[in-house]
Symmetry: C3
Subunit: 103 residues, 3 copies
């Protein structure tokens, strides 16, 4: 488990409204994500001009492990298509992946 640069990927985390899950998943696959992990979540956030509160029971947390380029493409797409109308936060970090050839 060496910190080989080839093993570094981006972990992109999206927390948003459960209502758009199926649309989001299609976007992720089209933009190059080879997989994703979804967990049910709840919480509160405010963002942008909507200042929208999140419903306590209808959030999802999606994780995608992918290349930096794919992460940037996904983030840009989501920001352009969803940030205006949906409660959504996106953050990313660097992760070391075991056997990364598939991500």
């Amino acid at each position: 488990m060496r910190a080989d640069i080839d093993h570094m990927r981006k972990l992109l985390t999206i927390v948003t409204e459960a209502a758009i899950e199926s649309t989001l998943v299609r976007d992720l696959e089209r933009l190059g994500a080879h997989g994703y992990t979804i967990t049910e979540a709840r919480g509160k956030g405010s963002r942008g001009v909507r200042n929208a509160g999140w419903d306590a029971s209808s959030n999802i947390r999606i994780e995608v492990v992918c290349s930096a380029d794919t992460a940037a493409a996904i983030a840009a797409h989501l920001q352009q298509h969803y940030y205006a109308n949906y409660a959504m936060i996106i953050f990313m970090s660097d992760v070391e992946v075991l056997r990364p050839e598939k991500f």
Copy 2:
């Protein structure tokens, strides 16, 4: 999606007993968190002199994306007020946030 230093935030993760969720959430908001994400969790941990095992069904995992100062304030508060009496682990990492102005 440039790695602008202004976009860097802390991701603070707290895993603890579900029984103190409402109290914790009030603390987070009072200490400057603009949002949080909660997922149901289970697990096992031991910490401090209690050597407490965690109940398999009553944990929560809370994520807060915030400034380094807010993360430090939250971590210090939780350590002071909960570590002695509740099973709790806190860890933080650096994340790049899309449109961070609200965090």
Copy 3:
């Protein structure tokens, strides 16, 4: 909450099939993990020659905060014993832990 080097640990995240949870947990404890957090998850992934799709309802996401050595031992063990036959992704990152003496 200073960034003391002694406080740095690895956050190891495993997403895999729920069917092997109890076996995995025994492995984690035997290999030196002092605790773990499990959340229910669903998603999709492909990996290795199986090209296995994940069932939408039977995944788990396991987090372990541990030393770099323990993380490497766990990752190597899981890769050797599970990657051939189970859908599994493993990634790790650096985290700063509050009161790390137990991890």
